[in-house]
Symmetry: D2
């Protein structure tokens, strides 16, 4: 039976994202994990991460491109930004499928990448062919992808919250404000003074105001979907919780609409999506409805006097905003049931 | 020496606000607390609230209007909305000064009060003469007030964040969005299923979207300051923390401006205010900078391409948003140093 | 295929425990959920609990004993203490299997039940035949149980932490102290003033000192395992978190031992247990290692100078301490793989 | 007026303790802060710590022993362990008074210091003359101290919880177990991977089991008070909160006693202490009763069947466990009212 399963590997187990991919794939009925590696920690998985003791015999190694090629058909890259650019080309050249969870292949414009990530992009060829893995937007393209660029967490919640409006009410949109709030795991597992417990607990703040690298990602994919340049402002805030993103999205229209119309638009748009749920009018999604799941839940309200749509969009930043969406893409790419391993 | 001190009373000790007034007044050098009462708890203060044991000999009683009149010159009302309307008239008639921390005398329009608070307003006379206690806006009026209506927590942060723009850039404002996030004590000390620990912890959500009773309060005082009707949208969210409000305020302009200009406007506007601090450009205020203090801290950013001002405003909802501001008003009304008991 | 699956029902969905059973059974490959009921909420599951929308078509009903009998082979009771006594007899009489997660059938002595739970026990017959569902202690008995009494959360962590010592070092034990700390969900989903967010957050306290109803449960099963009366003291504390129990257990001996000996004893004792993991000497288990899993992790230390064993025992109070253990028992009772649906 | 005030300095502002001393001294009516320094941050206080903007004009400098001597009469050392040994001698030699909040002068035995702190103690002379600043134990000695060694946070709560028993029931004590739980600020403001928000939040664990450096401190002062060697075991745990320590102390007796007797002993022992409050029988102290205050609250229970006293002791680790107690000592040393600046 095992011979039919996909042999998958994960590179970058030291971070929260890599570990989240591991947790999902361990239970995925179509996957045999054959290779895992991390830069900072090596050894039996159960000794490094006690929560996994007794659940797997895998051993975490230093990354070795040859081993990865030998042992896997699909490789999930959960490495820091800029590392994927180095690792991806040889894997693709060896005919492997790459699902990259870093930001390296998200911005199609190399100059934009350099501006927002502070590094030159040296893999123009693959940057062009990479498919942006938001199933609700690019499901067909994803089916044939060899290099899948998995969306950022903020962009996932933002684009799903805006997409129906951007595509169906394009000309009526005057401007969009995304007021985003994220749990701390969104910042990755880095040892930074301002991510220490006493600095974050009982606290709340905006950060990277007008300078967040997810801003151009949101903009470029929404502009493409809308077929025109939208006026977008994105503000990130740090919530004193581990997991979860809530974005309150204000879409300013230049003409009247009603709550019913907008709600109906969103409901129809996502009717067949397995992982997007639109709440009924008057209800608001909460983080706890989606944390530890691959769902994105949306709430709709309209300030009719002000021609203003208010969409609230919630996801688990590590699941639908990273590892879960990566597996959703993996399922699509392999012709599996899209919810396999995710429900 | 004690004879020069103001004899003050607090009505409504069962809630967070009343207790916060008590904590401040116990240390206020010009105040002698002579009367305290609560609806749900009576007895020696140190037995009801162990944290106050050994710090005061006061006894908490059932409210008795005659006793309050006999024993106090100034009465702080920290009772639930609609109770102040009953208690205030006899106190004023007896020549006492009333500082009301409820919402009962904030909305000058009785019809608006009925709409948003769900009760008829039966004290039109005092509603008219009540002074709205935001020192930064009405310091002169406050000096002579007999009935001081202390602002709501959300409105305090919102109005202070918008006031310089509303008064100096009035014609340039197209619309304003206030995305507000509050700690749980802002909801008062009520036993509600959705305020239980397990429901709030690790969670985050928007609530009362487009229906929050602080919305008309913000609107009416800003409209008055601006001299015109502004287009305002207010959204409240519940943070998994006890204390603190952060509001991210988006002021959409209809013409260009720069971050420097706006920052300079705010800095000058609040230059002499003892409790408003404007951060330098590029810096963002955090809740922990103001929690347990009477300060309101403001951060300024401008998305110049989008003609959008982003003001972040933080306060402690129980201090500058309630008890501290009440004492600041008390100081102004009595000619004391405005910071007395608050620094 | 579905015809081979066990038809199972859950009574008492309004609490945290019932919902946790539901979450596990929805993914259990051998179970078809055919009936769910709750006292306080009825309707489609996805409307009552938005997190379950799109994952099940079940409808929650008012409990009806006939329906439960008609539609299920096994019924999980997640009702409040004292309710199980009423519901269980007719279900057993109809030949159904009952897995009771309440405390009603845990204390074999009816007088003890009355003392600690404050109610007369009116089902002496079934009380006698009920099997206490701690697999590590009673696996063989569980196989044939018709009424399974699922252990309390504190007792699960305590008994697993003490069992090897109680059975193998019986005569050397002078006394045992269990210092237990639990997350808030352990208190159930009740709306109590002292479980409100602001009362629990940033706080910590001991509660029900020397009067906790889990104390006699721990005592009776350990005494039985030891074959003598142990001197036990149990103290509960409330952690400002949702899920998880850590118990620091001090076993005072009357003669010398070493850390290595005790560690070796525990390691051997639990060698074949799928859900108990003993950390290597020097390592300590943390809540995050077991939360959301059915594992109990144990840490061992010995103060050799004081003849004192220190065992730290951690579980998720809703999983190994309730719903997960119930399903583990269900698996044993039905001859399924013990880890089915739990890994 | 200012000429009568004590000129005080603080060395080591980068940590939580130094900042807590600063916060208290800023409001102390008998203190003029004349010098503050920190290793890692220099500049105007209001720019480094925004929460202090508008409250002081002080500038934080690199430590310069000459400046400290020139500008201060009393110097508070809030530096890391081992640094105080270098700084203290020249200050004392210049006739200054030193209040040391580090662990450097707490263990009278230099060998013990070396064992537990990992460094040789090079100031034997002052180690001998240093006075351990627990007012409830050494008030008279403190009055004449030139070098005051401020107690550790865990030892403060532990010794206060055990002292009445250790001195009045000495011969009846068989052994003592201290199960201690602390908020994260107790670990100091260091950037450590296991103190990051996501590692501590929603988590709980024991740490440094049997190896904590506060263990010998507790032991030596209690042994001295008891006049004999007690058998003590101390276990520390990390609470997911910023501030506060609760210790559950189990005092095993070798003969019977009653709750009333023990409660009466404690009540009398602390009757005149301004900062120790004994709860009435049946009540338990909570962290929130003492956080942000200099109080230590004690709860008493007795398991009469097991001859076991259970004392719960709570303090704010940064106040009574550090900065507040330092100022309490400062008040005693200077003949001020002991509660000055602390109530």
């Amino acid at each position: 039976m095992k011979t039919n399963m996909i042999r998958a590997g994960i590179v970058g187990l030291s971070g929260y994202t890599g570990l989240a991919v591991l947790e999902i794939l361990l239970k995925h009925p179509q996957v045999r994990l054959t290779y895992i590696s991390a830069h900072t920690t090596q050894g039996p998985v159960g000794e490094i991460w006690p929560q996994l003791a007794g659940r797997t015999d895998l051993t975490c190694e230093i990354f070795d491109v040859k081993k990865a090629i030998d042992q896997c058909e699909v490789i999930f890259l959960a490495v820091p930004h800029t590392s994927s650019i180095d690792i991806t080309p040889p894997l693709l050249q060896a005919g492997k499928t790459v699902i990259d969870l870093s930001g390296d292949y998200r911005l199609k414009n190399a100059a934009s990448y350099e501006k927002w990530y502070g590094h030159k992009h040296t893999d123009a060829k693959n940057l062009k062919s990479a498919v942006y893995g938001l199933p609700e937007l690019y499901r067909e393209k994803i089916k044939g992808a060899k290099l899948l660029s998995n969306p950022g967490c903020y962009p996932t919640a933002a684009i799903l919250g805006i997409l129906p409006t951007a595509t169906s009410m394009t000309e009526e949109i005057a401007s969009i404000i995304i007021d985003a709030k994220s749990g701390v795991s969104g910042a990755g597992k880095k040892t930074s003074p301002n991510l220490m417990f006493c600095e974050v607990n009982d606290n709340f703040k905006a950060y990277k105001v007008l300078t967040h690298q997810h801003s151009p990602e949101i903009e470029s994919y929404l502009n493409q979907a809308a077929g025109k340049d939208l006026t977008l402002t994105f503000t990130a805030h740090l919530l004193p919780i581990n997991k979860g993103i809530l974005e309150t999205i204000y879409i300013q229209l230049n003409k009247k609409t009603t709550a019913e119309k907008v709600h109906s638009l969103y409901s129809k748009f996502y009717k067949n999506e397995p992982f997007v749920r639109v709440r009924k009018l008057g209800a608001q999604p909460e983080l706890k409805d989606v944390v530890d799941t691959n769902f994105c839940d949306l709430g709709i309200a309209v300030n009719e006097a002000g021609n203003l749509i208010i969409v609230t969009s919630v996801i688990d930043n590590l699941i639908k905003g990273a590892a879960g969406q990566a597996v959703q893409n993996f399922n699509i790419m392999n012709g599996f049931k899209e919810t396999e391993g995710l429900l």
